[in-house]
Symmetry: C2
Subunit: 197 residues, 2 copies
């Protein structure tokens, strides 16, 4: 590289830390950005500054936005009484893209994990219990990952919410999925939960 490239090397090193990018793709991305300086590099830097200055967690559900109470929590058209519990903001966005759930959300910020020493206090579980009481929630839908930690978390939450219906997403064959490509666990779950036509 040329002289005065500490800035360039620094930028490449920072880009390489992004999930999905490594040193080689970071170099490619940086060269691409330098070629499209006014169209991409400068707007991207400014967008990052803005998000860095304004992004915050919703005080109620944990969604990321720029105001204290996100628009899902503030939207009076959304159904009260139903809370969908997700591990992460990305899961909340995925649910919203499916555009099928009309209640509120609650982002845990992870799952219980004995190995990583993550207990209920590290997650937003106490806040969930508060909300269930104060918002008159009747059903909590657990949309957690089908991992051991996810299921442990699901059972822990169900235990903490007596008197409230706790459900979880159905497990089965993905829409458009072919049996041949599915793992044994999914086929077992789909067969166990079979429905009459």
């Amino acid at each position: 590289m040329a002289q005065g490239t500490e800035d360039l090397e620094n930028l490449i090193a920072l880009m390489a830390k992004l999930p999905g990018l490594g040193p080689r793709s970071a170099r490619r991305a940086v060269l691409h950005l330098i070629k499209k300086r006014s169209l991409q590099l400068i707007p991207l830097a400014e967008a990052m500054h803005r998000v860095g200055a304004t992004a915050r967690e919703c005080l109620s559900c944990g969604n990321i936005g720029t105001i204290d109470i996100c628009d899902i929590c503030a939207n009076e058209k959304r159904q009260n009484g139903q809370i969908c519990v997700v591990e992460d903001v990305a899961d909340l966005w995925a649910m919203e893209r499916a555009n099928v759930f009309k209640g509120r959300y609650h982002v845990l910020g992870g799952t219980l994990s004995a190995l990583d020493a993550i207990g209920p206090e590290e997650l937003r579980i106490p806040k969930l219990i508060d909300r269930c009481q104060s918002e008159g929630v009747t059903e909590v839908i657990l949309a957690l990952g089908a991992t051991i930690d996810g299921q442990t978390t699901a059972h822990y939450i169900a235990d903490q919410l007596p008197g409230i219906t706790v459900t979880s997403l159905a497990q089965g064959v993905p829409v458009g999925g072919e049996l041949d490509y599915l793992d044994d666990g999914t086929i077992t779950a789909a067969l166990t939960a079979r429905k009459s036509l």
Copy 2:
């Protein structure tokens, strides 16, 4: 997404335009950055601003740096008389990582391409011819891609430089490569250029 997320959506859209990222990985990267705001998001935004303000092409070879003449061109310890011609800055960096070439470089900025209407004037070929005369160059090493456009460019450049030795990188089996995984063209080239042990 939550209210006031135009900034977030804008950032995700810009990230998704980077080579190697799509909408899904851009969302993941943005959530990752927001979680690591002070360690990654802010430094990355600042690094981009700095590079956007200072990055420029070396006036001589076309390498990217922050000064008018890059340190390879300015370095008096580098051998005069040899110029390695590459398509792109990324190729120059790859050559430098191999740490074997001690001469100077010349970045073309692409290859001749009839389909894309890229002629010699669109590339830095006239500048290369200038440099060969003014710098007393005796050998031009063409390190261009083994594509049709790359080879067309190589032959064009060789024709423009009478009286100068023009060589190109050897073609053959990659170091560590297994024959079974190589394409026919590479095996043919390696066999044709076989050497006595």
